[in-house]
């Protein structure tokens, strides 16, 4: 990676009690690039994202944004969007209020009418009809909730977007649609993206670069096109979904 990384992690460690989840993670994402972090369940992928966001405080290490330690998290979050694994939509708000949530807060908030119009436009961008805007999240299917979550993540046109298991729980066709949408949106916005997943179809559709997390460290990091010839037994086992190999599986 040439130049200063948009997001860089240096020796990040995090333990919960006696469970060391991250044991010194070094990772960087170039500006405008899409990094996908893969790894088995419980390898600390979500904790990694939460450390970058400041929701979880690392025990050691540095997290650098544009080459400097993060001083103002509010400022960083104002240019940030995230799609959560389960959507994390607010049950008590309608779909358009969810999508426009950030736009209705703060000093530079939009009027209700403008925010609603923008929310409908973003919903259209992710392939949802305007009528959906007035429904509640509980009335939508899992795939539609994911799309609403995606619309909310891009509503303020962020420069950094995180996707946490974007295709979990979706059928293969809907997963393909979400993957395509994510790729299109990231390219259109020119955003820096980090996605965590263990779905290899997502990896191939979304990633510019891939990093594999195993035993709390980055096991392999490279261009997505090189992943099939990584020469790493752990990566090979993971991407081919084999039960036999160096990664222990519970039977």
């Amino acid at each position: 990676m040439s130049g200063v990384a948009k997001i860089a992690l240096k020796g990040v460690k995090k333990s919960f009690g006696s469970n060391a989840v991250l044991r010194g993670v070094d990772l960087g994402v170039a500006k405008g690039s899409s990094l996908v972090v893969i790894g088995g369940s419980g390898t600390g992928k979500s904790v990694l994202l939460k450390c970058i966001l400041g929701i979880v405080t690392p025990d050691a290490g540095e997290i650098l944004i544009d080459g400097a330690a993060l001083k103002n998290r509010e400022d960083f979050l104002s240019h940030f969007g995230m799609l959560f694994q389960g959507g994390a939509l607010f049950d008590s708000l309608t779909v358009w209020q969810n999508v426009a949530f950030r736009l209705l807060q703060g000093r530079s908030k939009l009027s209700k009418a403008d925010a609603r119009e923008l929310a409908v436009e973003k919903l259209r961008r992710v392939g949802l009809k305007p009528e959906v805007a007035f429904q509640f999240p509980a009335e939508l299917s899992g795939g539609m909730q994911k799309r609403v979550g995606l619309a909310r993540a891009i509503a303020s046109e962020p420069s950094v977007i995180f996707f946490d298991e974007p295709t979990t729980g979706l059928d293969p066709i809907m997963a393909g649609v979400i993957n395509e949408l994510i790729r299109e949106i990231v390219v259109d916005l020119g955003a820096t993206a980090i996605t965590i997943t263990h779905d290899m179809s997502s990896v191939r559709a979304i990633a510019d670069h891939v990093a594999m997390l195993h035993a709390g460290k980055v096991r392999w990091h490279g261009v997505v096109g090189d992943i099939d010839a990584s020469g790493d037994a752990y990566v090979d086992q993971f991407i081919n979904g084999r039960a036999e190999g160096p990664i222990e599986s519970v039977r």
Partner: protein, 264 residues
């Protein structure tokens, strides 16, 4: 040797429990301090506050009203039966009023609201935590303490005195109905006895208690929700904790407030 081991294990167990309790008290104190500090600093969410005021105050009216109505009636019957032992049946109106306003109104309303609102707050926030909605708030540049905790605590602290005020009136009405329809009191004399023996301090002390109980209910609800475990079991446990801890704290603080407000 075996006896020493058993004793050591028993002492260790007591030590662990004590440390656990102290840690919980510390976490709660930090949470309460943080919530109060956020009440003093913007941004504020007036819409959220109004919604909570409606949920906590207005929608608790039926349950508080019914509770105080029947308690007022039962109180009149009990005082009449007790007073009859030494020919003091005439104290029914004043004792019903004083009992309701100073003690039963705030405590019963507090306990009922702890069951209805405290449980609901803990379940709602616990579910939000489990489904990552609280993390989502943070990523949307919204502080969960300001958006979720402050409006609920403020609304409960303000709504409870109003609820208790209305509950007191309904409770006294319950006593009035039983007193006049069942025990044969003259309506005008009953009302006159009710008002004549009441002092302003009786009313203000009840309202102060109510505000404190409202604060406790919302604090324990939000705290339990924020510290909810994972899954349905975690949320269920958080809901139980919210109701039990709020109820115990209401009864304990009621004693302390009574000592403070009515020193003997």
């Amino acid at each position: 040797m075996l006896a020493i081991n058993i004793l050591t294990e028993a002492l260790a167990s007591i030590g662990r429990s004590t440390l656990g309790l102290l840690a919980s008290i510390g976490r709660l104190a930090i949470f309460a301090g943080l919530a109060i500090s956020h009440m003093l600093r913007g941004p504020f969410y007036p819409r959220e506050f109004a919604v909570q005021l409606l949920r906590i105050g207005y929608f608790s009216l039926p349950v508080v009203g019914l509770t105080t109505l029947f308690t007022g009636g039962a109180l009149a019957l009990q005082i009449y039966a007790g007073g009859a032992r030494f020919n003091a049946e005439s104290v029914v109106p004043s004792i019903v009023a004083i009992g309701m306003i100073r003690e039963l109104g705030p405590v019963l309303a507090g306990l009922m609201v702890a069951g209805r609102v405290g449980a609901s707050i803990a379940a709602e926030i616990g579910t939000m935590k489990v489904t990552e909605q609280i993390d989502a708030l943070t990523t949307l540049s919204t502080n969960p303490m300001k958006y979720l905790v402050v409006p609920r605590i403020l609304a409960a602290t303000l709504a409870m005195p109003l609820l208790v005020l209305i509950g007191n009136i309904i409770g006294i009405l319950g006593g009035f109905l039983v007193g006049t329809l069942r025990l044969g009191f003259n309506p005008a004399a009953y009302m006159s006895n009710t008002v004549d023996f009441l002092e302003a301090g009786d009313i203000t002390s009840g309202l102060i208690k109510a505000a404190v109980f409202g604060f406790i209910v919302a604090l324990m609800g939000t705290y339990s929700g924020f510290h909810s475990g994972r899954g349905a079991q975690g949320v269920g446990q958080a809901t139980t904790n919210a109701v039990v801890s709020a109820s115990v704290l209401i009864l304990a603080s009621n004693y302390l407030l009574t000592e403070l407000l009515f020193p003997s």
